[in-house]
């Protein structure tokens, strides 16, 4: 059981780098508090008959932030981090299941579809793949003018045309007449993305949610589209939510950055502070992993292991701990981490050695939640032999973070019992610079820090 209640609300109200108050000074333009978007997994028919719950994916889990008018907030993370679901939840394209998201004084969570649609003319989305976002059977003029029709914003065909021309010229598709009767297939990737942006700004929105708007484009085109988005921000007074996996474009474009991992914000703050002194090991890894054309740059050797885990069965404690090179005792170690450790060890091991080790280790039961101690069955029935193997594995790589989470191991008849350190769920802790949800920055847990990592 976690020793601390998961009281994120206290610390989350003022995440690092509180945005400047907007022009009216009264309330933030957008205020998100404890937003949750959960998806139920549909199990088999049998599961449902038995009343068994197949599980929940917490795509967005207790996320809070404020956004001031004219600000650019970057939501950065890998696929599966929940960044796109968060963006869609704000627009009501995906229904949030809890918490609150207030846009210009209007609560979005739980709002009916009619009111949502009215609000959506104020907040628009730009998608990643411009080719998929445009209907291939509609001309550019029809696509860009479509929102005007839906929201009944044009007074007749002439007015519609005038507004479409203005939107196209605004995004650099000029002279507009050249493009109006073309189909998406006639345009290049960059031109298509400009058309998608024209469609997004034709209704004069105040918020643009841009989901990976440049990641499908060629390098030399990316900077052009990014420049366009910056120009539009100044000309139209737009506020952006910029969703990306790319730390480099985010650095250039964003005022503030929120790093997401498995549905939660793990670090948030002013972009300048976050890039100058990233606190969370995940943020640090994202920055170090960028391949750089600079010949003097090389990728680090200690990249985080593996990939983003299954959101239906998130790791205990800190969700990043199984991959984290700096994880320690309270991060949430569990029996699944031992399985992962053994698999990594066996990869590339001589077949006979691997078989010999495997013959000793049984399959452990995976519990639903954290447990104080786990049983690892001895396949041979000999608990002492299994313990000896585990001790040998520990001795071969004592620096492996996993062992910080093991309080004790006892050989018993037919199994080894492993006592775990109590997992603690990290909460965002505001400090100098950014706020990070990482135990390395929690003074209350400093006593558990391994000596080598001290003061880092």
């Amino acid at each position: 059981m976690p020793s601390k209640p998961d009281a994120m609300t206290d610390t989350l109200d003022a995440p690092g780098g509180t945005p400047a108050p907007d022009a009216t000074g009264a309330r933030p333009f957008i205020s998100v508090k404890n937003l949750k978007t959960y998806f139920e997994i549909r199990g088999s028919v049998f599961d449902r008959l038995m009343g068994r719950d197949a599980g929940t994916v917490k795509a967005v889990d207790d996320v809070s932030f404020d956004l001031a008018k004219g600000e650019v907030l970057g939501l950065v993370g890998e696929s599966g981090s929940g960044k796109s679901t968060l963006g869609r939840s704000l627009l009501g394209l995906v229904r949030a299941t809890g918490g609150s998201a207030v846009f210009e004084g209007q609560e979005i969570v739980g709002l009916d579809e009619r009111s949502l649609r009215r609000l959506r003319s104020r907040m628009q989305m730009v998608f990643q793949d411009p080719h998929a976002a445009l209907n291939p059977a509609m001309t550019i003029a029809q696509s860009v003018g479509h929102p005007l029709k839906i929201h009944k914003r044009a007074k007749g065909a002439e007015d519609q045309r005038r507004q479409v021309v203005a939107a196209l010229e605004r995004v650099g598709l000029s002279p507009a007449e050249t493009y109006m009767d073309k189909y998406p297939g006639d345009l290049s990737g960059g031109q298509k993305q400009r058309a998608v942006i024209a469609r997004a700004v034709v209704l004069d929105p105040v918020l643009l949610v841009a989901d990976e708007p440049v990641s499908m484009l060629d390098m030399s085109v990316r900077s052009k589209i990014l420049q366009l988005m910056i120009d539009l921000k100044q000309k139209l007074g737009l506020t952006y939510l910029y969703i990306t996996h790319d730390m480099a474009t985010a650095k250039f474009f964003c005022d503030r950055i929120a790093i997401l991992y498995l549905g939660r914000i793990v670090e948030i703050g002013e972009a300048s502070a976050l890039y100058a002194a990233p606190k969370h090991p995940y943020t640090q890894a994202l920055l170090e992993a960028i391949p750089d054309p600079d010949p003097n740059h090389t990728l680090p050797r200690n990249l985080p292991r593996g990939e983003i885990p299954d959101a239906a069965k998130p790791p205990h404690g800190c969700a990043f701990h199984p991959r984290c090179p700096r994880a320690f005792a309270p991060c949430g170690w569990e029996i699944r981490d031992l399985t992962g450790l053994l698999e990594a060890r066996w990869a590339g091991m001589a077949e006979a050695d691997h078989q010999a080790e495997r013959a000793l280790i049984g399959t452990p039961k995976i519990p639903d939640g954290p447990e104080a101690a786990s049983r690892l069955p001895a396949a041979s029935g000999d608990g002492a032999a299994l313990l000896a193997l585990l001790e040998k594995i520990r001795a071969e790589d004592p620096a492996e973070p996993f062992w910080t989470g093991v309080k004790a191991m006892h050989a018993e008849a037919g199994h080894v019992t492993i006592d775990w350190h109590t997992p603690v769920t990290p909460r965002l802790i505001a400090g100098k610079g950014t706020a990070a949800a990482c135990h390395l920055h929690d003074p209350a847990l400093a006593a558990h820090l391994p000596k080598a990592a001290d003061g880092a």
């Binding site: 990737g189 790319d246 480099a248 650095k251 994202l286 050797r301 983003i308 990594a344 077949e351």
Partner: protein
């Protein structure tokens, strides 16, 4: 598997004047236009370019994997034989044990109904029919181990793996046959940044330990810098610059290489840089140098005649009039090229 070790300076593959033409309703498109290159054993050549530069077509052309009806001319010399004139059956037998390949999206290449074990058994049986069941297992687990896949996953199906692990499996499937030349076409584009970095590291480590010649096709200059010894920059179907990757990135000779590097957004980017205009049409290419309509350094000669290839010091070459031998440019032709502003919309 392969024959006696060749001299380290002898190229594993030599491409000479390779041309690939596609038929389109508007006329033939020159996707690859007189490309020549060498890759030596243990060397990784990065082929970098934007969409439409011909980099993928070049890789497929070398492997003989072009669609029916594509025009192919020139030479791809591999162990003294020209792959371009080989029959389909001869080529098919070479792909795998001699010429390995890795694609961008591994899921499209793995059969969802087959266990990983079966993929390896099928691959190995096809090319080494005499291997025993035990030898197949040993070799497969060894190849998987080198790419970080544990033996406990040998009997799993492709859908039970994450994207990065699938790409590792694809690399293991190519390596298990110990190919002499490995062509990897955008092997990390579909992956997340940390997993991408893991795979780049893996490819770099494998190259060091196996001596395989690698051609790594990518649009990402950063990946070339991290994983490649040499780089060939493609533009409009031509290699406009080639050389040692460090040297090319530290001191690009071709204006396109320089502009492409400058427009790449990195953490150090303080100001956005763009290249005006769009890549050339492959059907009706501009006269002279293909880059001249966008080139800030263009001279009069650039619009009139294609630049000859100049060999520079240390296995480096460039196709640019700015680097041509003195006296090659007729008098007065080195004056700056006057031209109209390029509209922002005429772009990629």
């Amino acid at each position: 598997m392969s024959a006696a070790k060749p001299h380290p300076d002898t190229p594993v593959v030599s491409v000479r004047d390779l041309r690939v033409y596609y038929g389109t309703p508007k006329g033939p498109a020159r996707a690859v236009d007189r490309v020549s290159l060498d890759i030596r054993a243990g060397e990784t050549l990065g082929v970098v370019g934007e969409s439409g530069s011909g980099k993928s077509t070049l890789g497929r052309g070398i492997l003989g994997l072009l669609p029916e009806g594509t025009g192919l001319a020139g030479e791809v010399l591999y162990k003294g034989r020209n792959l371009v004139t080989m029959t389909k059956e001869e080529l098919r037998r070479m792909r795998g044990p001699e010429l390995g390949l890795i694609f961008q999206e591994p899921m499209t290449r793995l059969n969802p109904l087959m266990r990983i074990q079966e993929h390896f058994e099928e691959t190995l049986r096809q090319h080494h029919p005499k291997l025993s069941k035990d030898e197949i297992r040993q070799r497969s687990l060894q190849a998987l181990g080198r790419t970080g896949i544990p033996p406990t996953r040998y009997k799993h199906y492709p859908h039970e793996f994450s994207g990065g692990m699938r790409q590792r499996i694809m690399i293991a499937l190519a390596l298990v046959l110990e190919p002499t030349l490995l062509i990897a076409d955008e092997p990390t584009t579909a992956l997340d940044v940390i997993v991408e970095a893991q795979i780049i590291r893996l490819l770099a480590d494998l190259k060091r330990t196996s001596g395989t010649a690698v051609m790594l096709i990518t649009h990402n200059l950063g990946i070339v810098a991290e994983a490649c010894d040499r780089v060939a920059v493609m533009y409009g179907g031509k290699i406009v610059e080639e050389g040692n990757a460090r040297q090319v990135f530290a001191d690009p000779k071709h204006p396109y290489t320089r502009e492409l590097l400058a427009s790449t957004i990195a953490l150090e980017t303080r100001k956005l840089h763009t290249i005006p205009g769009a890549p050339p049409s492959l059907i009706t290419p501009p006269p002279g140098c293909l880059f001249h309509p966008r080139c800030p350094d263009a001279m009069k000669i650039c619009a009139a005649a294609a630049p000859p290839e100049e060999q520079l010091e240390g296995r480096r070459r460039v196709q640019c009039w700015r680097h041509s031998a003195t006296g090659a440019i007729p008098a007065g032709q080195n004056a700056p090229l006057g031209r109209e502003e390029i509209s922002v919309a005429f772009e990629a």
